[in-house]
Symmetry: C3
Subunit: 324 residues, 3 copies
């Protein structure tokens, strides 16, 4: 059975309320990740609009960004080294409307800024032994000229100076549980053939610098997932890209956006991915939705169900705060 | 004063996020129910769309249903026996639009499927000493030809082979806190006279097989509740049906859908029900909204307020996980 | 740096789900407030529509109000005395549409009722040593004839019989994170000049009886906050009114309305307020969003981050229930 071997770190989040953890809490959570079999952590984005995960001279100058009270990139890298996890750096997200072609902005300038942020981060943190790759943070679900151009510039740039580092993307699959900027569910399931055609083209375009694609598995109805996963795997294989799944651990079916997913649904999605030959999952994301340290207590139970299922000895009670 | 003597078990839920409990957690929660005076548990539905509470050959074949990782009906029955609770089995809910006459589908076929699921469940679980009745899971708020026909077929069918088992329904009362399928509050309070006329007719139709009606008490404004409860009691008395109330323990007045209700509101609703002579309440539902084991901590305090008020010795701290 | 020295007590709440605390829990929470440096508590409103914080003969007679199970005003005053906190009494809120001039109602009658509630409360509770002031509960964001008239009647009335007591208001600043009655975000940032002109006029009108204005800091985009805070401080200074900030501790940027704010954002807002010379903050509100006793666990961590930042020795673990 497929295992969850990676998780996003949802900093800077734009839609999940913050847990307000300090280093002590993150240290404990990296320990919990390790106990569940996680090997890789992905900073979802190094900055969002004016908020940053590290003090970025580039973003302060160009975007009027705020200096964060803690250098999270430094902290995550230290904790990753301590716990033997690999760290992937997520690129900057300006909050611009990549997805709405009718909104015009200077894409070239934007991508150039993102490139300079990558350079800055590499200069600051590239020496860390835990720094193992890049995550290109635009989440497209279908062909998107602007985002693809962005992938290409950043991807080729990163490959040029860090050829041994892996590059991940984690796109969506267009379905009824996709959200627009106002958090309204929109749209319908894209016809499978269109999904295949568009992603065949996208992969033609990105395969030379993208190492791994982990499609988000939460937008589709469950019954449509097997066919789409099969297409994803086939297309990735054809293009020499590793195919993972992003097995989302939050529930998109509920009026509260978002709380931990029901274990049965997560198991179903992992089973489908395993059936088409996918070997690895990352999840969005452990710390809120699967962690024994989460502020959402249903996550503690999800951790237990996952560990029981996989025969892992860890239990959420191992991390209970009264044992600290 | 009225007591809460029954609770739904919200499996399969379609609008309340899952707590991800395993048997150990459910066992503890049945113990907590007992401590609060609960005697009856109602499986809200045995299946919803493709998700099931037990491995149903019928639903797998006819609906492509998923086999659940745990047989919850078996587990609930064992726990009900262990803790001396009565179990009521909720009928299948296909997710079809019973409430929107403009949406056409083959009602007869649907009801026939539901009947076969009932048969299957009875064959699998009918021997359990805890299996004490049926809950017809369609939640109508006013006259509804399709749902009533469904009640009749299922109700008479169940009565024929299990005449000693009781049959419950738990309809709504149309008010401003009713939600549509997109979780938007809709509608206005139905005029009291219309409510009375329609329910008089409905009860004429169902009284020969429905033993108990427990109207949901959350859709109306509080100030309208006394008059509607009085009508409900009068109509039930006239038709020889037991009149309970479904004293909802979640709060419909808040932007978060849904968290535990304020104790004062729950007490107010129970007081109104007691004033018209209603003797028993069930609640939707204990495990998320009133339980000392809930992932929502306000539920722990609601449990304490309820127990204090009724002079019960139980306290949420008795169930604190650090005492496990 | 600015300190949070006051908090609202969100009784009666109309948009934050209740924690269902009894006196023991409130006692513990007042202790936590004290540990964080809070000196003043503000009852956000003594009643809302038919719900009341104390048994009000006036509201029972005039509004059909419900008698609450606990006299919260009495309890809060006793706890305030015990813990050495100052208590401010929030005026009644009928739920009328102060903000929508097109909705007509008898404002004079409404204000007269509010005045009688104030008299009743003063007669019942005015002897308490902890009773230190009044909070006028209408939350306007811009010029509003009806609410201002209400402020004037209540404010002058309170000043006449309790000249030593202070009067607070806590208006908004019109921005994109304002909510309408249906909990939809509405509107745009008011032009700074309009904000200044309108509040200059409002302060002309209220300065003789309003001692302190604490503008809510959550409606605006973060980047607009410094200019607005500077205007607020300048206008307050000009009118001889103390200028505080209401540094909201809930997050308005998330799809869940509402959970605790990210510490970084709260710190940013406090920093901006300090930069324009504001010395004190109150917050909406401690008990849900910053408290080590909150049902929202992210609040516990926010308490820790706040205390760490200010060099306070208190930690959320001091209040852990397993230490009770």
């Amino acid at each position: 059975m497929l295992r969850v071997t990676g998780t996003f770190l949802d900093e800077i989040s734009h839609d999940i309320p913050h847990q307000n953890w300090g280093e002590k809490e993150w240290d404990k959570d990296f320990r919990a990740m390790k106990a569940m079999g996680i090997q890789k952590v992905f900073l979802i984005r190094c900055g969002h609009k004016r908020f940053c995960t590290y003090p970025s001279a580039v973003l302060e100058k160009e975007k009027g960004a705020y200096r964060p009270p803690v250098d999270l990139v430094d902290m995550f890298l230290r904790l990753a080294e301590k716990h033997g996890l690999d760290f992937y750096f997520g690129t900057y997200d300006s909050g611009n409307a990549w997805y709405r072609p009718e909104v015009r902005y200077d894409v070239e300038k934007e991508v150039d800024l993102m490139r300079r942020v990558v350079d800055e981060a590499w200069a600051r943190y590239g020496k860390s032994k835990a720094f193992k790759g890049w995550y290109l943070s635009q989440e497209i679900a279908r062909r998107n000229e602007r985002a693809q151009a962005c992938y290409k510039v950043l991807g080729e740039h990163c490959k040029a100076f860090s050829p041994d580092l892996k590059i991940f993307i984690s796109p969506g699959m267009l379905g009824p549980k996709d959200y627009n900027e106002d958090m309204q569910k929109r749209g319908k399931t894209i016809p499978l053939r269109e999904h295949e055609e568009e992603w065949n083209q996208i992969m033609d375009y990105v395969h030379s610098f993208v190492d791994v694609i982990a499609f988000q598995d939460g937008h589709l109805n469950y019954e449509d997932l097997p066919d789409f996963l099969a297409v994803n795997k086939k297309l990735c294989d054809r293009h020499g890209i590793e195919c993972w799944t992003n097995c989302e651990s939050f529930d998109r079916d509920m009026p509260i956006d978002f709380l931990p997913i029901k274990w049965e649904k997560m198991l179903l999605k992992m089973t489908y991915a395993a059936q088409v030959g996918i070997k690895d999952a990352l999840t969005f994301e452990f710390s809120h939705f699967m962690s024994p340290n989460s502020v959402y207590l249903a996550a503690h139970h999800l951790f237990d169900r996952y560990c029981e299922y996989h025969g892992l000895p860890a239990r959420s009670s191992d991390f209970a705060p009264w044992k600290d």
